[in-house]
Symmetry: C2
Subunit: 334 residues, 2 copies
DNA sequence: CTGAAAGCGCTTACAG
DNA sequence: CTGAAAGCGCTTACAG
């Protein structure tokens, strides 16, 4: 960008009749500068339309003001509005703190892939991870001193800073709700159980059965991957093995919609024949007919919490992992 | 990030027994370096686990490898999966070209706001804009020499580089489809007509009427803002003024869902009493019951095209604005 | 409260 | 094909 040569500190300093050090102090809010001279600097900045060069500033100070937001998945993940909302929450809080979000959507496959390389290039002050499948890279980065926040409970039990929704509690509440509505045979469609959140929702489901005094048949558990299509497949599988199934907890709204589509194709109705509960309380749950009963998680708040944990870390403040509560939103489907 | 001191060119140069200039050449793919010495450098890089410091590189070269992706709206815009997909498309193509996406979701209110300030700080090599409401800032940045791509047709008719969906053609096809299904009284729910795409879809709607030999009543045009709620409001308004309305083209899927919800609340059914067509062919259209007939636009392709135009510009290649075709996907709702 | 000076870690004409 | 050297535009001890 060899645009019309932008002014530098040298120019501001000369115009204001002070040293570059003083210019730097004023622009960085160091209040040890005498008000009169500070004013002269500000006037010069104003007059010349000066904008500090962030790259030079970053090199000299070691702080870039950039936080990587890494989504460990491929792009199709964005079809689910979930991620957009979390990202938006992160972005807002970071911006309010004069930090920018560097978005990377890519499988974090190896500790040696493109993302890994990038995060070690000194261009970011920290990294926030979403949908993490493996934490090998995160471990390495943490060891190197890079501030890290994980959204979702990390796969292994190291002491990473993370923020998560109460997936277990949500799964428990969803399943108990189905029982309370009179369901006898409640199945579950899980997410990719390689992800901790999917596993925790499943655990919640099991816990609901346990509180009822027994364990569910293994064949009442069908695996999906959070996609609409996988919800359809899983529902067909459940109906195959349990024609008398009368309740389904789908681990996200998209799969719940897939399940409902299959149920209706077979001429059965929701909630009369089979009751369905989703998870996320996304726009889809709200706009669906019948309205989808769903476990609400505040996704924007999730992103905001992640960003706040990052900011605290950067400020050297001791932080703790954080679990956000869920809330069951009852609509017509169950 | 004062992590375990990372090696620098000085260390690599010494290890490989060459000058720093040679290290730089090898790492930047300058093939004028003798293969033997290049090999020694590569070995040293490998051995020391060297990662180039991007900030220093950016300061010296003037290229940061960062492209700003600016969404001129507030965060709620991400509830609509549309933006996530476009962003994902951009991100993928940029990454493939070793560029990173700096995501900024914020109203670009003034030429003097936070976004404006940032884009002039030298931290990005270019900027891609979405959902632009005003192009005052864009004009100024372009004048300063910053490469720019706009997604969606720019508000004013300067010669910006942009990529857009054929909104006019989509609106035309949607409306004609409703007529071809026997509708007599077709209304439209528009998006925020301050946005060019919303205006163009409306123009397509008008054109369909014109091709039928007349103009629609003004009261068949109800304004929304692309949100679910606004779709509901607009539909109520249409039903108020035209109880006999039998077709509605909603300018996006979310508003179409809002319209359908209102229609059903009133005891009417879709498509029997009123046929509805949406726009976007989002996941919502696909998962809705009845399936929503919708104008499909390839959002990921839109993002990819925007990124490619940016890359071409950075390479100094002459580029032209690009319009992507739409396709009507017929389902049950019309 | 202030300035001179060194330094951040690369890149790039320039000269050979 | 290669190296010495200047430079990118800031920040930050250090000394006063």
């Amino acid at each position: 960008m060899a645009q019309t040569a932008r002014p530098t500190y040298a120019v501001i300093a000369k115009t204001a009749g002070v040293s570059e050090a003083t210019v730097s102090r004023v622009l960085n809010g160091d209040d040890s500068v005498h008000p009169d001279r500070a004013k002269r600097v500000q006037d010069a900045v104003e007059k010349l339309g000066y904008k500090k060069n962030r790259v030079a500033s970053a090199l000299a100070s070691g702080r870039t003001g950039l936080i990587a937001v890494v989504i460990d998945d491929d792009l199709s993940i964005f079809q689910d509005p979930f991620w957009g909302s979390v990202t938006a929450g992160v972005s807002r809080v970071l911006m309010e703190n004069e930090l920018q979000s560097l978005l990377m959507v890519s499988p974090v496959d190896s500790v040696d892939g493109a993302v890994a390389h990038y995060l070690q290039s000194g261009e970011v002050d920290g990294a926030i991870f979403f949908a993490l499948h493996s934490d090998a890279l995160v471990k390495r980065l943490a060891k190197q001193g890079l501030p890290i926040v994980i959204t979702g409970t990390p796969p292994s039990n190291d002491d990473f800073i993370f923020v998560d929704t109460d997936n277990f509690g949500g799964g428990l509440a969803a399943t108990k709700h189905l029982f309370s509505r009179g369901c006898q045979k409640v199945g579950i469609i899980t997410g990719d159980t390689g992800l901790t959140d999917a596993k925790q929702r499943l655990d919640g489901y099991h816990q609901a059965y346990r509180e009822g005094g027994h364990l569910p048949s293994k064949t009442l558990v069908a695996n999906g991957d959070y996609s609409f299509e996988s919800g359809k497949r899983a529902m067909r599988q459940l109906l195959d093995s349990h024609p008398g199934i009368d309740g389904v907890f789908a681990s996200n709204d998209l799969m719940a919609m897939g399940a409902i589509a299959v149920i209706q194709e077979l001429g059965k109705t929701v909630p009369e024949h089979i009751k369905v509960v989703g998870f996320d309380d996304s726009l889809i749950a709200q706009t669906a007919r019948p309205g989808l009963t769903s476990v609400r998680q505040d996704v924007v708040a999730l992103g905001e919490a992640a960003a706040n944990l990052m900011i605290a870390q950067l400020a050297g403040i001791e932080v703790e992992p954080k679990i956000l509560p869920t809330e069951l939103v009852v609509r017509e489907s169950a």
